[in-house]
């Protein structure tokens, strides 16, 4: 078995397969087979951005899209928000088509590296956006004061945005996304430009929103942020949703690791498909076999028993999300040597 196939097998085992997105009453967002190809330059050269992305976000869930730059995170969000028109696929928000502008009254959005009008102050900007939601004057003023305090911008509210730092713009951007008390909050790289304290504050704020029942779709390439906030993580790779991972099952899905006393004769892979065999170490003559599920574990143990191979240990190590992410990107999991047994 070559390394590529083995890597895919481990990824399949470690991660949960993407679910078939069938929308139920409690779902806020459904994305089905989203395809988008940009055409650039004079010759309209096609640049595929999304190649069939599907996922479902139930009410109250924090769903994170994780992927490297250019994986398709922002395009997915822009398709959902009708800023970019997909070539194929379906998007439903609150049970209706995403093109209905009325549904946007229930959505909050923070773009990546947000830009706002330089000629306005922070307060004026929030007032402008609040008007777009049709909020009455008294409500606007109250909500703006509340949000400015929440994102720690009350002291800078009357300074023009042209003089704001990147982090301050990010905070005011978050405030504008929360103006309408959104049921669905879409955040594109919300931690960009924030210092460690700012990141922690935003993370705390999002945790409060999550507890309050707000559904959050966020994109990032910062794994610790995802681990701290997300209920489920979709890993995007080259326009495809590589896998969806449930964070409630631990920091990542588990698999079984079987330590054998010596390198077995014969190919384990032929007996138990989907296993991965690694040398235990330079001072250890044995091998470590990664087994994705109980059924295959039973078959492996039976095979070892038949061969008389010594099984030294069986345990279920945790795989960090970072490892899973790197594995998905094809950058390796940290264990250097892969060997077909």
């Amino acid at each position: 078995m070559n390394q590529k196939v083995m890597t895919r097998n481990v990824a399949e085992a470690v991660l949960n397969p993407p679910e078939a997105p069938v929308m139920s009453g409690g779902d806020v967002l459904r994305v089905l087979n989203l395809v988008k190809t940009y055409r650039t330059g004079f010759w309209r050269k096609p640049q595929p951005a999304l190649k069939g992305v599907s996922f479902l976000v139930p009410r109250g869930e924090v769903f994170a899209l994780l992927g490297h730059n250019g994986a398709g995170k922002t395009t997915t969000m822009k398709c959902i928000l009708n800023l970019v028109h997909p070539d194929a696929g379906e998007i439903e928000i609150f049970g209706t088509g995403h093109r209905r502008w009325q549904s946007r009254a229930r959505i909050g959005y923070l773009p990546e590296a947000p830009y706002f009008y330089d000629h306005l102050t922070g307060r004026e900007l929030l007032d402008f956006y609040a008007r777009l939601f049709g909020m009455p004057r008294a409500d606007r003023q109250q909500r703006i004061t509340e949000l400015l305090a929440q994102v720690n911008m009350a002291d800078h509210a009357d300074i023009r945005l042209g003089k704001y730092s990147k982090g301050m713009l990010q905070r005011i951007g978050l405030a504008q996304a929360l103006l309408n008390r959104p049921e669905l909050l879409i955040l594109d790289e919300p931690m960009t430009g924030l210092d460690p304290l700012g990141r922690r504050e935003v993370r705390d704020l999002l945790t409060v929103l999550k507890r309050g029942g707000t559904t959050i779709l966020l994109s990032t390439h910062i794994v610790p942020d995802v681990e701290a906030l997300a209920d489920r993580v979709g890993i995007l790779k080259q326009g495809l949703l590589h896998s969806i991972h449930d964070m409630s099952r631990g920091s990542a899905a588990t698999y079984f690791e079987v330590t054998l006393g010596q390198m077995p004769h014969g190919a384990i892979a032929d007996v138990v498909r989907g296993c991965r065999c690694l040398p235990a170490g330079s001072r250890h003559p044995g091998a470590i076999v990664q087994v994705p599920d109980l059924d295959r574990l039973a078959r492996l143990l039976a095979w070892c028993s038949d061969l008389g191979a010594e099984v030294q240990a069986v345990h279920t190590p945790q795989t960090s999300l970072e490892e899973v992410f790197l594995e998905a990107l094809g950058a390796g999991s940290g264990r250097e040597a892969n060997k077909s047994c």
Partner: protein, 256 residues
């Protein structure tokens, strides 16, 4: 529905008023209107006409400059700075947004024309020219013409760069003032197809001479009230047409 468009219009007005270009153009306009007081003694016996002619033409010219300089880049600036991305994720349609931008700039033009006409009035009083109510009609029609040009620049800016939008608008302005001549030229040439083409051009491109009563006003000729009503309707039809077309094009635009 209206509140969202109003919010965009108010923001556009605020943005334009805080823009340096607006002041530079405005100040030059005021200087030119003021210079009519200096030029008028050169024409003995026709001082009043010079003051009125230079004043009214300056209003039209500097209004056009504001439309070209501010209007043509208004949309592209929002696209490039990505401020539009956040706005269009709020409950507002693209058509409402465009109408808001258009109304915001129209209100700015109105304010600019009001300031210019106040200065114009002062200059007229200083030069001992009696202001006639006909000047109000000229002022009103100049505003209508600029409103129509403003709708045209919004339309062009939805599908071409600011420079091209400004060039197209300027071409429309020039051809618009010559459209009657184009029609007459086609009819004089004699052949049926030439007459047909000139007719198409005449009806496709707004006849901006409808809004030009400066000559009549300066020379003290009467202006029929019905002309003002018809000019208003004419302007409204073209503005609606241009804005509708702009909304259709803009709805298909992708905000990458």
């Amino acid at each position: 529905m209206l509140n969202q468009g109003k919010a965009v219009a108010m923001n556009t007005f605020r943005e334009t008023v805080r823009d340096r270009i607006f002041y530079i153009v405005g100040i030059f306009g005021l200087i030119l209107i003021g210079s009519s007081a200096v030029l008028s003694p050169l024409t003995i016996g026709a001082q009043g006409k010079i003051v009125a002619d230079v004043g009214l033409s300056s209003m039209s010219l500097f209004g056009l400059l504001v439309v070209l300089l501010v209007g043509s880049s208004m949309l592209r600036k929002e696209l490039e700075k990505r401020t539009l991305t956040t706005i269009l994720t709020k409950p507002i349609t693209r058509g409402q947004y465009l109408c808001g931008k258009f109304c915001g700039l129209t209100v700015t033009l109105l304010c600019m024309l009001l300031v210019m006409s106040l200065v114009f009035l002062v200059i007229m009083l200083v030069c001992r020219v009696t202001p006639h109510p006909r000047f109000l009609a000229a002022f009103y029609l100049t505003f209508l013409e600029l409103t129509l040009i403003n709708a045209a620049v919004v339309l062009f800016s939805t599908f071409v760069s600011p420079t091209l939008a400004a060039v197209f608008t300027l071409c429309l302005f020039v051809i618009g003032h010559l459209s009657e001549s184009v029609m007459n030229f086609g009819l004089v040439m004699g052949s049926a197809w030439q007459a047909q083409i000139s007719k198409i051009v005449y009806y496709l491109i707004p006849n901006l001479e409808v809004f030009n009563i400066r000559g009549a006003v300066v020379h003290g000729q009467p202006v029929a009230f019905s002309h003002l009503i018809l000019a208003t309707l004419y302007c409204l039809v073209y503005v609606l047409l241009f804005m509708l077309l702009a909304s259709v094009i803009f709805a298909r635009k992708e905000l990458r």
